[in-house]
Symmetry: C2
Subunit: 380 residues, 2 copies
């Protein structure tokens, strides 16, 4: 086991009818910025529950945050937050709204010349931010319980992650009933996103961390158990609740403690979204089997363990097959052709991105532009 | 799944050579109370590492805290903390030292007439406390990452738990190497204590919480895997590290989120320790099989699931047998006779304690004095 530091101060308020509990958790007498996405929260009762919990307070609204949130849009919210002297941010939505709100929280306190530098430096210099809370309406990214965010820039088709300890939400409300009206495609994406978050922290090499392995396998097995059920029966509380809690624990940083991590699939997936537009989880489902095939020798021991424990199959190859079948069973494509993306062209374009920066990643730090290109060529 | 609130702000600093990191985490220019137990930390280098990390600061020492810490002793530390205007507490030791330090932290800020009332009311009125950090030297109780403590009173042979949110340690250092010199008996006790902490949050009835079940089973399986190895090879870093992390996650309140909890074994065990003196874990190993046998019908579904998943046996009875065998394989007795305690007499004495208060417990709230007596009669 590797040395590690673990701290996750976010308070999780989980269950039916819990949105009203935000009232006691947001400081009184300060202006609040309420952020949200395309407005679905106005159709499903969430907006009403939130505003009724905030009654009597000074609330500034900033809606219209889109998937893969853009810095160009977030900076308008930063301006609004500054001019209205906002002292608390409440993000109501999924990972995109929460990620955008984290950027707003950091950028509003940022004193450098160009807020995009927050992304360029991975958040290294972010030491203070406006405190934020969340009401999660889409289980997927885990952003409700970590200090991470991913922001895109329209001008340059970039999509970059950043992290800061001061960006853990103060609280996050997780009411599974708020997710009953989600489109099936978003639920499918959420299941795959959470599944692959676990994999990035698990599918590396054995390092004497049997508890971390089993915790990761627990989340994988639960997503495999409840994923199809929650897609088929969106209003089955039990399976939706387990899906929601699984997605949070997949990336609240606990299961990654003391173990090597990969994140190649995310690095390559971000570029595909930035260049070609498929949703985050869609790119991950395409890339993951390619990373595994390309790194088969190095990941074989863990792939075999995963296959045996989670799927009851004997070989690494069978474990990869089972995983791809699982994604497909959720209605999730696993090939670039499903998005009419030419594999050779994508390989060249994405490879160039990493060669130019230059950057290497993966648990051995050996995935460079050429390796990324080779991985994508496997996913035609 | 039940509604829940989860918050655990403790920062865990885990791994080899990490004690020096306390320096950056303790406020400067405030008097610090350093608490510890019988002095073993002076023989194994831990005391030297701690004091060298604290060099140049005002440190007041309070050693000699014994197992099952007594309020009579703790109050002397409270007096010392007040007179020296202590503003930070550093507990260096196992659960007893940490629990005592939590009581000192709370009692130093307590304004009621009798600090024992903190225990009588389970910590209900504890809203402020002196902040504390810990350097854990004995994996067992989980006290390094929760807001719980158990304190005894010599005058009345009482042993009671309390809890307050302000008592989560600010940080806890977990360096597995600090535990290499522990006596085998304490390691054995720690394994059993952690195992039964998981059971109190797991062995109830199914409630549509498959992730929580699997997380609990992960810790159980890991303790079964690394427990015998770490007893046999105390200086094997890998197994000691996994044991240490398992014991923390067994009671950092995560696995109990959203599920019914039992705690009967602890309630009855505390009385046995208070009345007859066996160590905490020793009483738990005696009581647990009795609670299960007594509650067999109500716990059968979960006992069977546990047996199948963790031990590969088919029935609830076989699962109980495997558990008792596991404890015995660690050198842990599972019968009252091992401590020369008469079962009938203990049943009467412990039963009376619960009948007098009166108090009922267990996941159905149906374990009263009579049930506790019946449980103990099964453990002759």
């Amino acid at each position: 086991m590797l040395n590690f530091v673990f701290k996750n101060p976010t308070e999780i308020i989980f269950g039916k009818g819990t949105i009203a509990q935000i009232d006691a958790r947001i400081p009184r007498d300060v202006p609040i910025l309420l952020t949200y996405g395309g407005g679905s929260i106005k159709g499903n009762g969430v907006y009403q529950q939130v505003t009724s919990a905030l009654e009597g307070r000074e609330v500034v609204e900033f809606g219209g945050i889109e998937p893969n949130p853009k810095v160009e849009v977030c900076l308008k919210a930063v301006e609004l937050a500054r001019s209205r002297q906002v002292r608390f941010l409440l993000a109501v939505g999924g990972g995109s709204v929460i990620d955008a709100t984290k950027f707003i929280a950091a950028a509003a306190c940022y004193e450098g010349p160009d807020p995009w530098d927050i992304l360029r430096t991975g958040g290294r210099d972010v030491k203070t931010a406006i405190p934020l809370g969340t009401v999660l309406t889409l289980p997927a990214t885990g952003s409700e319980s970590n200090g991470n965010a991913v922001i895109s820039r329209r001008a340059t088709s970039e999509k970059l992650p950043f992290h800061a300890d001061c960006l853990f939400p103060v609280f996050s409300v997780l009411d599974p009933e708020t997710t009953y009206t989600l489109p099936a495609e978003q639920v499918r994406n959420g299941i795959v996103d959470a599944f692959i978050h676990v994999m990035e922290q698990y599918m590396t090499y054995p390092c004497d961390a049997p508890l971390q392995d089993r915790l990761a396998e627990s989340i994988l097995a639960t997503l495999i158990e409840v994923g199809p059920r929650t897609l088929a029966e969106p209003q089955d509380y039990a399976s939706r609740a387990s899906f929601m809690w699984s997605a949070t624990l997949a990336l609240n940083t606990l299961i990654g403690c003391g173990v090597p991590q990969d994140w190649s699939t995310h690095m390559i997936g971000h570029e595909l979204t930035a260049l070609y537009g498929p949703a985050h989880a869609e790119t991950l489902a395409v890339v993951l089997p390619g990373v595994w095939a390309h790194q088969l020798a190095k990941k074989e021991a863990k792939l075999r363990q995963y296959g045996q424990r989670v799927w009851g199959v004997a070989t690494a190859e069978a474990a990869i097959g089972k995983t791809e079948e699982f994604f497909q069973s959720l209605g999730m494509p696993t090939r670039l052709s499903a998005y009419e993306i030419d594999a050779d062209q994508a390989a060249e374009a994405v490879g160039r991105r990493f060669t130019e920066r230059p950057v290497k990643f993966g648990e051995h730090g050996d995935i460079d532009g050429d390796a990324a290109a080779a991985i994508l060529r496997l996913r035609a």
